[in-house]
Amino acid sequence: MSSNGSITSESVEQEYVHSIYSRLATYQQKEHKPSSPRIWPRVRQFVDQQPIGSIILDVGCGEAKYTSIKCHVIGFDTCAEVLSSSKKENIDLCLADAVNIPIRDGSVDAILNVSVIHHLATTARRRQVLQECSRCLRVGGQIMIYAWAFEQPNGKFAAQDILVPWNMHETAIGGRLPKIKFHLNTTKEQRVIAASIPVNISDGLSAKRWFSGVLSRVTSLTDQLPYFSKRCPSSPGYSNQSTPTGSVSSPIQKLPSAAPQFLPTTSSLLSGIKRWSPMLGRRLATLIVPVEEQFAEELSQIIMRESITEAMATLREVTFYRYYHVFKEGELADLTDSVDSLKVVSNSLEHGNWCVIAEKIATNIIRP
């Protein structure tokens, strides 16, 4: 949760990417088995055209969709829940981060970077991912990058940094659930675009920002009455992003949680401090209540909040949010070209995604 529709790059990736994928993975195991993930034909083709015996890295492999019999695929993901439910033959899995790839320099023949880079919240971090990929590639090896496009066949997003809803339930049409075809079903696509929420990504938690955050939380105390109804993303607080107010007294806009929270978080100065520095928060709180009581209270709050969310998710009554940075035309290719030793070979728009293939070229810099 944050105020003013603004959030740091670190927390947006933690809350709206890593944690939410872990949570969704547990539901997918229960709800959609056997899952039939979308296979992009161009990615499949890229894998299939690699020579026999090639070492292929799938950075952010998720459900490990792209396997190969004649090549050796190593799949990386940050999400343990996704990986452990994706084990299969013909692919080796590893928990690892796209910005810190645990592979020696110049050792792999090809890299897949499919639907990964749009989950990183700053240009610097997106470039770092590509730099890491380039480091691992041998000279002449190719990388295929897929990322969601700002320009969609049937509409445009309101901004490039957005929270996109992911509904557990689908609206029945004529008594039948529609097939989930994300990019081909325009009705759903338009719904998704319309329901996505712009966010401002800030570069780090400065003391000033934190303090203004605390202030706005205090101001908004009046709104924070206990309730058991779900937060509605279409309420005015979320959608009127473009309303020109031009004054400091503009209504506070809150981001929806990545997963819904049915109990309000205690909004006090103490919990504000705790979020900023858990140690300091606890130490201050011990002046008021003993430490055991504090932990017990925190724990019971977390358990209550989580269990209600779980129950509602089972009833398919909730909306989850994931963070995306959607790329404008040319942006992904330019970012790739800005990386030393990567040269763009092709750039195309495929079903609402930018698809870039780049090759590692020899540079004069010789690494030790």
């Binding site: 026999i52 015996g53 050796h72 084990k87 645990p102 320099d105």
Partner: protein, 125 residues
């Protein structure tokens, strides 16, 4: 984790690590699978392999005797039987439980259920 994966892994991404290779390997449990042998595929892979790291991996599963202590000069001169020894080590042996250890900082990366955890946030906790 098949043993060939160890050959490509490095802990260079950790703070103050310059090479981070080869990773030390301890194996608490492994299984032997029966992956189909393909001569051409194996030779291509062996060309990409760092021999010193392969020796580390072979020792970790007590199977150093399968392969020569020195790197053979030409892979395609080996017989199928010799290549199958390499194939067995690299492809058939699957580490289920164990540890990868950074040679410089001694940071431990656990392997659980066949999946190594190389996350920097977990390693630097």
């Amino acid at each position: 984790m098949k043993l060939f994966v160890h050959n490509f892994m490095s802990s260079r991404f950790l703070k103050n690590v310059t090479v981070g290779y080869p990773l030390e390997l301890t194996v608490k449990q492994f299984v032997e699978k029966d992956i189909e042998f393909d001569r051409e595929n194996m030779i291509v892979m062996l060309d990409k392999i760092q021999y010193e790291a392969l020796l580390v991996a072979a020792a970790a599963v007590n199977q150093s005797d399968r392969i020569p202590a020195e790197k053979p000069p030409k892979w395609d001169e080996l017989s199928d039987d010799q290549l199958k020894q390499f194939h067995h080590l690299l492809m058939n042996i699957d580490v289920v439980d164990g540890e990868l250890i950074c040679p410089e900082t001694k940071t431990v990366f656990p392997i659980k259920d066949g999946i190594p955890n190389m996350l920097k946030v977990d390693a630097e906790k």
